[in-house]
Symmetry: C2
Subunit: 363 residues, 2 copies
DNA sequence: CCATCGTATGAAAGCGGTTTACCAGCGTGT
DNA sequence: ACACGCTGGTAAACCGCTTTCATACGATGG
């Protein structure tokens, strides 16, 4: 019986639960139960086992555990890229919450390629993650919705939850959670901020039809204009993606094309704002002395360039996604119990020094 | 035999390899071998199996695979925080290389707390990651070295490789790989850059004794001064951590304490530079008109504030770590074959607009 | 035409846990 | 004293896959 734990303890093979059992003089089942925690056991046995674990430096094999038990104790997050600050913050939130719940976090990237996204979801499926969190801006067409519904069903069948983070809901009947933040509301608020400062001609940088995030932001911008009875000039909405270089390009082209016909800029996000600011500077224009500017996201570049912007609860987004998915998984009844399937997190304005009342601004 | 795959295909239990075998009319062994790829098989059987896989939407169970086979097909990375740009880039590199090699990437964070680091390493150990990559600046004392050696041995015993990324080597006999970049060289080069511009009194921001990264950077700074025969004034080395706020604080305090006694600043990293720049501005000083400044890292803030800095191959660091660890694992002989145990990646200067020759600078 | 050998496949033994029966004691209530 | 419910523990059946080991089958050589 104690054959294993015999003198030759320096064996190459890592310690298993059987070794622990032998060493402690109990059965493997007892060890398993004591380690899992959830079971009554005599204090004496408990301490015997714990001592054996310590002495043998035993660590459970997660694969075996995941195979035998129901749960793999892991959550998956899939993002475009880990270096992009927004994704990084969401990922941080996911990781933190996962750690808090004793799960580990596995991450995949797509580079924005939907083929890779598909492959990555498959990967997570075979990993049996308890939930897979898909985050990021995306084309919102029929094909997309269908694909997501497919993912959601396949994952549900494997006992795992699909969470869409920062994406719009798919519609009823699809077993997917949605956690997003109020893009339209934020855009409305910050546009109003500019309008209150007297600005009427506000350049919107980063329109991109068909993509959910920029679309919602443009929508907020337009609604604010409308509510303030400021005529809407579609010519002020410049198309471009959400990158720094694009911000640079858009402003540069605009200024090269003719005389300046705006007094303020609403950059689709802070990256665009940073690029735009550089283009302005190269053109001899200062923010906010000559042009007012606001952004969206409140990510690192914003503080560096003193940008008034919309704060987005990036980390909270990730945290909530995990909490929700795990909560729902735990309590299957949650579904019937009407646990939230769609959460909308709020945003708020961060005022820095990038906006000046129109009257105080150089012409 | 075909009991499983009988009409009622809508069973709740996910598809297993047995289902596929039954559906294709072969044995599970055959399916396993064909899916693993590495084995000869008759084309006819192969296509039968593949069809079954497709029709049943089969995905292998990674836990079972990891348990039965040797490898878990995963690499682990442990960082302070995912949002910190340096770590994010390294993580991106790790993730990318892992994906390239068909492995998945699991990430843990420590928040800089060594207790959490320990716990996280344990977590990765039980996950049986093929390698665990520890990245980040750290106190380099005896206790640390001992702890790392412990980690390395425990991991090696479980068939996994410890990789220290951006940390100095531990010494011989410890089964750990090291991938770092040339901090001292970079600091030397960029200090020389300032010296060539005529600067003699260069403030170093972010000295922190006992921590490897800042220590190496200070070392390069000092060596450059020495080589250029510029007297070294210890009073010019300001202590602080590698954060934006710290940069702000350090400069603010310095300027409040007395008249400006420097003409250039070498910020320990770009974050510090950003903070320092803000403090300077609030004090009415412009970069580079009044003060020259350089940073280190070449991370996002650098471009935004037009900072001349040292480019660090962050992603390459992560990539190399994975490549090395996996390469070594695959070919156990690699150890004897003298495969690199310590890689030092080079850096180079990125010149932007933050340095002005002393003579052209305001007094 | 039989012995020989290489090859594609099958049967079964684990991998290291969890979990379901099941059982030995051991007070209690009557 | 006996049936009875508890408690702390055991044995053994999986979980789904990989991987020997063994085998049937064709092709080959003498």
């Amino acid at each position: 019986m104690a054959r294993r734990a015999a003198s030759g303890d320096e064996g190459r093979r890592p310690t298993t639960i059987r070794d622990v059992a032998a060493h402690a003089g109990v059965s493997v089942a007892t060890v398993s139960r004591i380690l899992s925690g959830t079971y009554p056991s005599a204090p004496a046995t408990r301490s015997k086992v714990m001592r054996a674990v310590r002495e043998l430096d035993y660590v459970a094999n997660a694969n075996a555990r995941g195979l035998a038990g129901a749960s793999s104790r892991s959550v998956a997050i899939i993002v475009n890229s880990v270096v992009s600050p927004h994704y990084a913050h969401v990922a941080q939130g996911v990781q933190a919450q996962a750690a808090l719940e004793g799960k580990l976090c596995i991450v995949g990237t797509t580079g924005g390629d939907s083929e890779r996204e598909l492959a990555t979801v498959q990967l997570m499926r075979q990993e049996h993650a308890e939930c897979v969190i898909l985050v990021g801006n995306v084309v919102n067409d029929e094909a997309y919705r269908e694909r997501m519904a497919e993912y959601a069903r396949a994952l549900a069948l494997a006992g795992s939850q699909l969470v869409l983070c920062g994406r719009p809901p798919l519609g009823p009947g699809v077993p997917a959670l949605v956690v997003e933040y109020d893009n339209t509301g934020g855009a409305y608020a910050i546009t109003s901020h500019l309008l209150s400062a007297g600005h009427r001609r506000i350049l919107f940088l980063g329109r991109r039809d068909g993509y959910t995030t920029p679309e919602s932001r443009v929508a907020g911008y337009r609604k604010a204009l409308a509510d303030h009875r400021v005529p809407h000039d579609p010519g002020l909405e410049v198309e471009g993606t959400m990158e720094r270089l694009e911000g640079y390009r858009m402003v540069r082209q605009r200024l090269a094309a003719g005389p300046r016909d705006f007094t303020a800029i609403f950059a689709g996000n802070d990256l665009i704002a940073a690029g735009a600011r550089q283009a302005l500077r190269e053109h001899g224009l200062r923010v906010p002395d000559d042009v007012s500017m606001v952004g969206f996201d409140d990510l690192p570049p914003a503080a560096d360039i003193d940008l008034t912007t919309v704060h987005v609860p990036h980390e909270e987004l990730g945290r909530t996604a995990v909490r929700l998915a795990l909560g729902r998984g735990q309590d299957q009844a949650g579904i019937q119990a009407g646990m939230a399937e769609h959460v909308l997190l709020g945003t708020h304005i961060i005022v820095r020094d990038s906006v000046r009342p129109l009257r105080n601004q150089a012409p």
